[in-house]
């Protein structure tokens, strides 16, 4: 088995009428990132949530899918967890085809949803015990694992509580316990920390680190840069259903253009200002997006006066300036022309 997960030219097209979960791609930036393929022709009324995605995820890897809303992260997880049928292409999990061997795939994966979806007809421990029964575990084995997991996640004292009595963070931990109960080879987490307070988020990170240390394959989607950076072995940056970059977080950071990103909010003709700024020496690249100029500078903040001058020369006015070091966020912006959150 070459990889724990493999996708080949995965494509998912939604008809506009049924695009409940896909936000249509919007944006005015013109990214010049070399990794982007030319846009394939699309019939009007169709939205490609996934547009030829190739991924390979290794056994034991903590893999992050990073992208803004509508990037295709949830659709990717949907295909890999057998809930979304790809329009074309293939995907394999633990060597099983997600479209034709869906039962075998389901047996090998654990899924933590974006929003906790415990079975509200059952209490906390029953949620785990019935889940175990769905996966063919005996009552004794389920009970032993369930109590172990509840203790690990510090909700053992709530074992007989109704799920509504749990806090958001506790429900999320219950969801992870449920996903782990049948000891799946791969765990999928779809934006697991959205809606959690900072403390619960850190607690969840600790749990994920434990699971990773146990050698599990973990696939997580997120739009939090820091989360991806802290936890993942490798990161795929996706947008509009395409893979834009794929590497370890530290190597991705090196790919971020320039040494400093200078973000100028301006009033006036953005395009004219951008073309003047591009001529300045020390400016590696300039992107423009709806009143924003993003200049990637080799000489740090030194270029600010020259940039302001160029903008004013184009008849515009600078309203705000923001300076940042290259990081995953600036790489992401340079690749997609969009901000993450």
């Amino acid at each position: 088995m070459p990889g724990m997960i493999e996708t080949r030219a995965l494509r998912k097209v939604y008809l506009a009428a049924s695009r409940k979960r896909v936000t249509p791609p919007r944006g005015t930036a013109t990214p010049s990132g070399g990794t982007r393929a030319a846009s394939s022709p699309q019939q009007s009324g169709e939205i490609a949530a996934l547009d030829g995605l190739d991924l390979e995820i290794h056994e034991g890897e903590f893999f992050g899918l990073l992208g803004p809303n509508g990037a295709g992260k949830t659709t990717t997880i949907g295909v890999l967890t057998t809930r979304v049928l790809a329009t074309s292409g293939e995907a394999f999990v633990a060597g099983k085809n997600v479209a034709t061997e869906e039962v075998a795939v389901r047996r090998r994966i654990g899924v933590v949803p974006q929003r906790p979806n415990p079975d509200r007809g059952l209490n906390v421990i029953e949620n785990l015990l019935f889940h175990g029964a769905y996966f063919g575990l005996s009552h004794a084995v389920s009970m032993q694992r369930a109590m172990g997991l509840l203790e690990l996640f510090e909700i053992a004292d709530r074992a007989h509580a109704e799920v509504e009595e749990l806090s958001g963070g506790q429900q999320q931990r219950l969801m992870i316990a449920r996903a782990l109960l049948h000891e799946p080879r791969v765990i999928f987490l779809d934006e697991p920390t959205v809606g959690l307070d900072p403390q619960a988020r850190l607690a969840l990170w600790d749990i994920l680190r434990i699971l990773h240390a146990q050698g599990r394959t973990i696939v997580m989607t997120t739009h939090y840069m820091q989360e991806a950076d802290e936890l993942c072995d490798r990161l795929a940056i996706v947008d509009r259903g395409r893979l834009l970059a794929l590497d370890t977080p530290s190597r991705l950071r090196l790919q971020a253009p320039g040494s400093t990103l200078i973000d100028l909010t301006i009033e006036g003709d953005c395009a004219a200002a951008a073309s003047l700024c591009r001529r300045l020496s020390g400016v590696q690249r300039v992107d423009e997006a709806s009143g924003d100029l993003r200049a990637y500078s080799d000489r740090g903040g030194e270029l600010i006066p020259a940039l302001i001058h160029a903008v004013e020369e184009a008849g515009c006015r600078v309203q705000n300036i923001n300076l940042s070091k290259p990081n995953l966020e600036t790489l992401f912006v340079s690749l997609t022309g969009r901000k993450l959150a």
């Binding site: 809930r83 509200r120 996966f135």
Partner: protein
């Protein structure tokens, strides 16, 4: 750690199916009082008014209870089967997404739908079997009521409950949470009033248009089926026709319901 891949061992789908059925029984058992209240309140009140009070006042003939009892049994059976599938479906597919744990279980998705319909059928049967003796208690002796056809009685109940349970799957998967109220006023309401529950189908001879229009209503066949088996002395449709109609509707609702279910299970 991964206990030498226990996921390679065979796992019969029947094990998963029955685990889900046990889950539904567990939830239903916990909610039994509410379940009985929800599904049998209306039939019980009907029997108190039409089967006890009005005959006492002499406003309807005493023998009317022989028409009413089978109708009320069919109503509670149908309502309970349709609701016990459709209401949770609407919520679980709509906002709570609770169904996802079962959709991600190692079992083909159509068997999840079959399990839901099976559980709904059992709840329909339970409601029917509960209302029958209670009705007898409320309305007193019922002319012509016999249980010599117990097997047929049970068969009609089973077929009727399954038909309405499959209808529940269709409604539950096709309807938005905001439209639940609409479903009751626009589908269930007319179904009750034109379901030959208060009157035998033969009684519609005097209104021929109505007599044939109501044939699209599945409740007609359950009510007539209960009459044919519980109070065979009363006018009723032929049991063969009833069985054929119910079987046809069951297959139709199951086919449509499964399609709607699969559309939501795998997008």
């Amino acid at each position: 750690m991964m206990s030498s891949h226990e996921d390679d061992a065979p796992l019969p789908v029947s094990d998963v199916f029955f685990a889900m059925l046990r889950r539904d029984v567990r939830v239903a058992r916990r909610e039994l009082p509410f379940f009985l209240l929800r599904t049998t309140m209306q039939p019980l009140l009907l029997m108190v008014v039409f089967g006890y009070l009005l005959p006492k006042m002499g406003m309807v003939a005493k023998g009317y209870t022989a028409t009413l009892l089978p109708g009320v049994v069919s109503l509670s059976l149908a309502l309970s089967a349709v609701q016990s599938v459709s209401l949770p479906m609407v919520a679980q597919f709509g906002f709570s997404k609770e169904i996802e744990d079962r959709l991600l279980a190692p079992i083909p998705s159509h068997l999840v739908a079959l399990e839901l319909v099976t559980a709904g059928t059992l709840q329909g049967l339970l409601a029917g079997l509960f209302v029958l003796p209670v009705g007898r208690l409320i309305m007193g002796a019922i002319p012509g009521l016999g249980f010599s056809n117990a097997v047929q009685v049970f068969s009609v109940m089973l077929l009727g409950a399954a038909t309405f349970s499959a209808l529940g799957l269709l409604i539950g998967c096709a309807i938005n949470p905001q439209q639940i109220g609409l479903m009751f006023s626009s589908i269930i309401g007319p179904m009750i009033f034109f379901g030959c529950m208060y009157y035998p189908w033969k009684g519609l001879d005097s209104v021929p248009v109505m007599k044939y229009a109501v044939l699209v209503n599945p409740l007609v066949y359950v009510a007539e089926g209960m009459r044919a088996t519980l109070t065979p002395g009363m006018p009723h449709m032929d049991l063969i026709v009833i069985s054929f109609a119910l079987l046809t509707l069951l297959l139709l609702f199951w086919w449509l319901g499964l399609r709607a279910f699969m559309k939501r299970a795998v997008t």
